[in-house]
């Protein structure tokens, strides 16, 4: 039964992974990647790690992939067009090296299979193992690995600040500018580079109209950063 589950889930994972690489449409790639994540969550269950299986579904298939799909749809990514391979003459060498890699991997795995280490069997030790349950993970996370856990929170804070800095749209208005909903309100310093610090507001529908009201026609506009 375990063997059947492993073969099923491994086949799903490898098939989805290959489909992900072969697909040209990024959206289909993303959906194939979700298939890989779900197959891996099932494999975690066969390895007696239910907490990680749940986290895998929630964080990866839920949060991260939603973000990726959101960005794909936001940017309206088109399919990759066919282009000639950049270094086509290396294809033969690549196939040769891949064959060597597979040979090495098969060699190592063949001898690992005959290694005298105990087999992966949940009943081998005899006692009921609680490795992988939420309680043991929480205990490890808040005792032995407390420092990495705290560093992780700092990392997340840095990621939040970094993402906001990168995705922020640098616009015409600054924090000192006054804005009234429904009408465009510009300040004098927005229109005249020499009037820094002058926050006199000008109500208008266009920037050019505001410049005319202020008598600033002909003054070169500040370059939009």
């Amino acid at each position: 039964m375990t063997t059947f589950l492993f073969v099923l889930l491994a086949g799903l994972a490898i098939g989805s992974a290959i489909a992900m690489v072969v697909q040209r449409n990024p959206l289909y790639s993303a959906i194939s990647l979700i298939g890989v994540f779900i197959a891996l969550a099932g494999l975690y269950l066969t390895l007696a790690a239910p907490f990680l299986a749940a986290i895998q579904i929630i964080v990866y298939a839920g949060a991260i992939m939603v973000l990726v799909v959101f960005v794909i749809m936001l940017l309206n990514v088109e399919e990759e067009e066919h282009k000639p391979l950049r270094m086509g003459y290396l294809t033969v060498i690549a196939i040769l090296l891949a064959a060597i890699l597979f040979g090495e991997a098969g060699f190592i795995l063949y001898f690992m299979g005959n290694s005298p280490l105990e087999p992966l069997n949940p009943n081998a030790v005899g006692n009921a193992s609680n490795v992988g349950l939420t309680a043991s993970i929480g205990t490890g996370l808040f005792t032995t690995y407390l420092l990495p856990f705290e560093i992780t929170s700092v990392l997340l804070l840095m990621a939040i600040v970094g993402a906001m800095t990168l995705a922020r749209r640098v616009g015409l208005l600054r924090p000192t500018d006054l804005v009234v909903p429904g009408s465009q309100v510009l300040t004098r310093q927005t229109l005249d580079p020499k009037a820094i610090g002058d926050a006199t507001e000008v109500e208008s529908s266009t920037t050019a109209e505001a410049a005319r009201v202020l008598g600033l026609e002909g003054v070169p506009h500040r370059r939009e950063e």
Partner: protein, 102 residues
């Protein structure tokens, strides 16, 4: 039927990692490359969980937990960078962004 052993999981992990590496090399779309990197991270996670289950040690699973957090942070920052590059160049093709200037 033979029993599932550790080496099966390691072999699966190696295959997934290799597919991820191949994807990063083949793909030209920045978002597709990003997803291939996620695949590689997941392959490593599978190795961690397999060894954790094999040695009955919870440390491996805690590593996976932290790797997942790093992957989430990477997703946020990486997609932010992709958005900024797209805004500048109107393209996600990494060949169009081969120089950092402008």
């Amino acid at each position: 039927m033979p029993d599932v052993s550790l080496s099966w999981y390691l072999a699966l992990s190696a295959v997934l990692f290799t597919i991820g590496v191949a994807g990063v090399i083949i793909k030209r779309n920045a978002i597709s490359m990003f997803m291939c990197i996620e695949l590689m991270l997941n392959a490593v996670n599978l190795t961690f969980v397999a060894f954790s289950s094999y040695f009955r040690d919870v440390s491996g699973q805690l590593f996976v937990f932290i790797v997942m957090t790093v992957a989430a942070a990477e997703a946020a920052v990486g997609l932010g960078i992709i958005l900024a590059v797209f805004r500048n160049r109107e393209s996600l093709d990494v060949d169009d962004s081969s120089v950092l200037k402008n």
